[in-house]
Symmetry: C2
């Protein structure tokens, strides 16, 4: 399920690019080529959301984007907040604030008094005490956590208490949350270690042992 | 294989934390608890690298860390570079430069003349033309790509030409590289879309259809 959502979000972005280039139709094998998945997977994913192409013309790009938008619950814009306006947090604010049509980053929060009341790329930064009030006012459903590892669980608890239903967690720590809350972990240091490892052991490693 | 490496890197970090707290031994079920994996997986992973605990005392933390260090080819410090000193790039410099013992971020590169010759958190920024020279001098094997999507493939080509063997790619685009080069993609916008989706559809979705 998670992987499907990830692929559907990717297809939507790629289709928007294609549409921007003036293309009106695309075949599953073409979408497969630019997405890096097989044509069979592409067809199955799109059948799952109820969209079928024709063998002659493939998929109609605009209609397919509309269909994906409905699937992802657009045009309703979702609100989100970010906790931890350190280096990574501020970079993510800059990164996520660009794409205003898809979601709305309404506020950042930090425990550092020097950061409170500042704006980063137009996004206001508040103290942590303001979290309940601002989540209630904005009906934000998603929180991005970019605080240090030792503070991440208490921030997650605070978000969950205030009805946040999805967390994108950059703190290198496993969060304990209720089953109804979805957490996606992005552990940048681990990802880098993996690349460092495979930059030396690539291929050899796969032959030498049967680890999966 | 990839997942195993990811878990082993995670165990190593968790074990270092435990060691820092003064603990000398740990049981597989405890390491399982803090890592979020099952005790069976933990035991299998550690057996794979040739380390066995005892039923009585579990694993000896220090020896296990040494064993993981050998596995990850330490103490040799690996060099890496970063291309694209925008918001995300600069945040990653700040993030990755802290942990100097594990790897060495030797330089950043950017096509913007205003950024060239600056230092970010002590990391010098050069023009892209300097890439061949600095990779050769430092024997960097890994490159982090944080350029816009439209420039990512040409940067990847340049890195591969200059013998980079691993790429951590933050550009929202699929890179085409030779088989011998390992690429890990971190697509932040896709991850956020996934969380936004599951913040609304969590659980329900899993019951309603059989997508995998």
């Amino acid at each position: 399920m998670e992987k499907t959502i990830e692929r559907l979000a990717l297809y939507r972005r790629l289709l928007k690019n294609q549409s921007g280039k003036g293309n009106t139709h695309i075949f599953s094998h073409q979408l497969a080529g630019i997405s890096g998945y097989s044509a069979a997977i592409v067809r199955r994913d799109l059948m799952n959301i109820g969209y079928y192409g024709t063998p002659r013309h493939g998929y109609e790009i605009k209609a397919l984007i509309d269909c994906l938008n409905v699937f992802f619950n657009k045009p309703e814009v979702k609100s989100l907040i970010l906790v931890g306006a350190g280096n990574l947090g501020r970079a993510l604010i800059a990164y996520f604030i660009k794409d205003k049509t898809e979601y709305n980053l309404i506020a950042a929060f930090d425990s550092d008094p020097l950061k409170v009341n500042l704006k980063y790329n137009g996004c206001p930064c508040y103290s942590l005490e303001k979290i309940p009030e601002l989540i209630a006012a904005s009906q934000a459903s998603v929180g991005i956590i970019t605080v240090p590892a030792e503070n991440a669980q208490s921030v997650a608890d605070l978000l969950v208490e205030n009805k946040i239903k999805g967390i994108l967690n950059f703190a290198p720590v496993s969060l304990t949350v209720p089953e109804s809350v979805y957490v996606e972990n992005v552990d940048l240091a681990l990802m880098l270690e993996k690349v460092l490892y495979f930059s030396v052991h690539h291929r050899e490693g796969e032959k030498k042992n049967g680890m999966t």
